[in-house]
């Protein structure tokens, strides 16, 4: 029987988690923009830039297009933001200990990540502009191609728990706990070294989910279809979308770090958080370099890539997990 104090503790933790996610995302967004600018021989924006953009959008005129479905048009940014906020406190920052009634189920995480993408589909379709519709159809195609390898790669660590010895569990905290210790010589006991192919598949899927090239920005390709699903959005509603998109830097990197890079490595409290954030930042930097050094592929290429190579990687690892070699 939980007391009132327990609930208060949980709420505090949730707010702390969202705060952490927000500030890390802010920093990561700045690193992303600054680093990509520097890699392009430019100077890049100052540190307050990501947040100034969002504040400005909230101060602009409110607007709903005439052809839009008004209910869905206003609902979809809220869906996106709530989905990503739920994700950002469901994914623990590297600690096996995380209070709360939810079991941090990987299946739920998967569902919410799809919901986050679906919010953009709804936004595109509801806004009533041809560009929004094309963007939405591209987004659907991206969901169809990405989610299958993503789902398999997401579940591989939890299936592998049985081999490590702690028994099958869908809880993300169990996955983090299972990665403590040493694999061989100095290599830590990360699932990255156990299942490298699956981690590549997951990495590419998350890269795409966080709008990074080569595949990620197909649905919002600026030169082809303006801003894709967000073409007709402006002002505060766009601000909510931008805020939701800011959290991607935390959510998707944290997911990868928790599942395949050992989270906080089982250290004591402030240290594990620090190690976790550094790992996340490294992932952001690697993503940025890939983003900067590649062209945007076509949607057919994305299909081919994810449903052949990535799926093969994921399925191969799945067979390894199930058969055990």
């Amino acid at each position: 029987m939980a007391t009132l104090f327990d609930y208060l503790l949980i709420i505090t933790f949730y707010f702390a988690a969202i705060g952490l996610a927000f500030f890390f995302s802010w920093g990561a967004a700045w690193v992303f923009r600054k680093l990509s600018a520097r890699l392009q021989a430019r100077k890049g924006p100052p540190a307050y830039q990501p947040i100034a953009d969002i504040i400005k959008l909230f101060g602009k005129e409110r607007f709903i297009p005439r052809l839009a479905n008004k209910f869905l048009y206003t609902l979809s940014p809220l869906v996106a933001l709530s989905a990503i906020l739920i994700l950002s406190f469901m994914i623990p920052p590297g600690t096996p200990f995380w209070p709360g009634p939810l079991a941090f189920d990987l299946i739920v995480i998967l569902y919410f990540s799809v919901m986050f993408s679906l919010a953009f589909v709804i936004a595109g379709w509801a806004s009533g502009s041809p560009w929004g519709k094309i963007g939405a159809s591209r987004e659907v195609a991206m969901i169809l191609s990405v989610e299958l390898p993503l789902a398999i790669a997401l579940l591989i660590p939890s299936l592998a728990l049985a081999r490590v010895g702690s028994g099958f569990s869908l809880s993300i905290t169990d996955v983090i706990a299972a990665q403590e210790g040493i694999f061989i010589w100095f290599l830590p006991n990360w699932f990255l070294f156990h299942y490298p192919l699956a981690s590549v598949a997951l990495f590419l899927a998350l890269l795409t989910k966080s709008w990074m090239r080569p595949f990620g920005d197909i649905p919002e390709a600026e030169q082809e279809i303006f801003a894709g699903p967000l073409t007709e959005y402006g002002g505060p509603l766009l601000g909510i979308f931008e805020l939701a998109r800011l959290f991607r830097f935390y959510v998707f990197t944290a997911l990868f770090v928790d599942l395949y890079l050992g989270g906080g490595d089982g250290l004591i409290f402030p240290l594990n958080l620090l190690v976790f954030l550094v790992k996340c930042l490294v992932i952001v930097i690697i993503m940025t370099i890939i983003h900067v050094a590649s062209a945007r592929y076509r949607i057919s290429h994305a299909f081919k890539w994810f449903l052949t190579v990535c799926l093969a990687f994921a399925v191969f690892s799945l067979i390894r997990v199930l058969v055990g070699f």
Binding site: G128, P130, I225, F226, Y297
Partner: protein, 406 residues
């Protein structure tokens, strides 16, 4: 409550009907991020596949040829320079060549070399610009940035020579307006070396990168036969394997004595167009170097004496960065031309889009449109190309095009 639900149910299926309908029309333009200039493509698409294309121009129609009839020959120099921002030197070269033909004016040697140098530097700037914008349109923003960083060097050279980054205003009737001093030449040579290196890296990156290859190879292919029928010019024709170049075929300025290769490719797709342009960059650097070497040794005046322009008519041709550029002038003996006619390369090349676009995916439309390096500012003076049914119209001769365009 019930009412609200009803309206929602009404509106949502309507939109789904619209989208799931097999074909629908997408307006590309008149103002679209990929195009920059006002032009309007009406694309009939099925999912992502383009079925039919209509092209509507004229948003940029300024009546330049009409204006030219009310201004003097010298004033027209600056008016024709502003037909197009990117190939301004080509326009003035063509115009002044035509006026010099009318007046029977011989260019001094030094003026010829300076004119050639400016034309080639402009070609470098234009092709680098194209390469950068092309990279940006396939989403490779980094190469766009890096190519444009190197492009700044050409602009520095042009700014140092002429005093402006674009619109050099260097040509005048019977010569050039500004001389290049001896002290400035080593600096220009240094910059040319930087450019040469940058070109090589750009070529290497384009050849090597899988992404660029995947996005450009086999896309927007223009058949050689069709290319001949619709008489495309410049890099578009050369990419399809047609070896035409006004600089070789009908030399003007100093091109008759300069050795250079005409770069061609065979496939006619965007990749080969890129290869042709990147190859031409190297040639242009070579030609500029040749001109600089000659400028070191040749002295003399930079302007010939200009007397009155006698009545008559003349046609001048120039190889602009986008292809053959033609000027036709009629003089009536006064200081204003009786009639001026400009035929720009994009005027012919735009028509090729109607053959290149159908069958491609929507994602490839921007790069395909950009691949011919369209210059609406050049083209938009009198032309409207409309193709109502792409599929049934199999052969379109040049006569039909002219008939349509008048």
């Amino acid at each position: 409550m019930t009412r609200k639900k009803k309206t929602e149910k009404k509106t949502i299926p309507m939109q789904i009907d619209e989208v799931t309908a097999p074909e629908y029309v997408i307006p590309l333009g008149p103002f679209h991020p990929a195009l920059l200039e006002g032009e309007y493509f009406k694309l009939k698409v099925e999912g992502e596949k383009v079925l039919e294309v209509d092209l509507k121009l004229g948003y940029n129609y300024r009546g330049i040829m009409k204006l030219a009839e009310s201004r003097s020959y010298h004033q027209n120099m600056y008016l024709f320079e502003r037909v197009c921002g990117i190939c301004s030197a080509a326009h003035t070269t063509a115009y002044s060549t035509t006026v010099e033909m009318l007046g029977g004016i011989e260019l001094p040697d030094r003026a010829r070399y300076i004119r050639t140098l400016i034309a080639e530097l402009e070609r470098i700037h234009s092709h680098l610009l194209w390469a950068g914008v092309g990279m940006e349109l396939i989403g490779f923003k980094t190469l766009f940035m890096l190519i444009w960083r190197d492009r700044e060097h050409v602009l520095d050279v042009l700014e140092a020579i002429s005093g402006n980054r674009q619109h050099y205003a260097m040509n005048t009737i019977g010569g050039v307006r500004k001389d290049i001093e001896k002290e400035a030449i080593p600096k220009i040579e240094e910059k040319l070396k930087v450019l040469h290196k940058a070109t090589e890296t750009a070529t290497k990156a384009v050849l090597e990168d899988g992404g660029i290859r995947a996005r450009t190879k086999g896309i927007g292919t223009l058949d050689k036969e069709i290319a001949k029928q619709i008489s495309v010019v410049g890099p578009v024709a050369r990419a399809a394997g047609i070896k035409i170049d006004v600089r070789k075929d009908d030399p003007y300025a100093a091109y008759d004595e300069i050795p250079f290769d005409v770069i061609t490719a065979n496939d006619g797709d965007i990749f080969s167009m890129a290869l042709v342009r990147l190859g031409e960059l190297v040639e242009s650097v070579k030609i500029s170097q040749y001109c600089l070497d000659k400028l070191k040794t040749t002295g003399g005046p930079i302007q010939a004496e200009v007397k009155e322009i006698p009545p008559g008519e003349a046609v001048g041709r120039v190889e602009a960065p986008r292809g053959e550029l033609m000027y036709y002038l009629v003089s009536n003996g006064t200081n204003t031309p009786e009639r001026a006619r400009v035929r720009t390369p994009s005027y012919l090349n735009d028509y090729a889009l109607l053959f290149m676009l159908p069958g491609e995916s929507l994602a490839d439309v921007p790069i395909t449109v950009a691949s011919i390096d369209p210059c609406m500012a050049c083209t938009d003076r009198i032309c409207t190309v409309v193709n109502q049914d792409m599929r049934t119209q199999k052969t379109s001769t040049i006569q039909e095009l002219f008939k349509n365009s008048r």
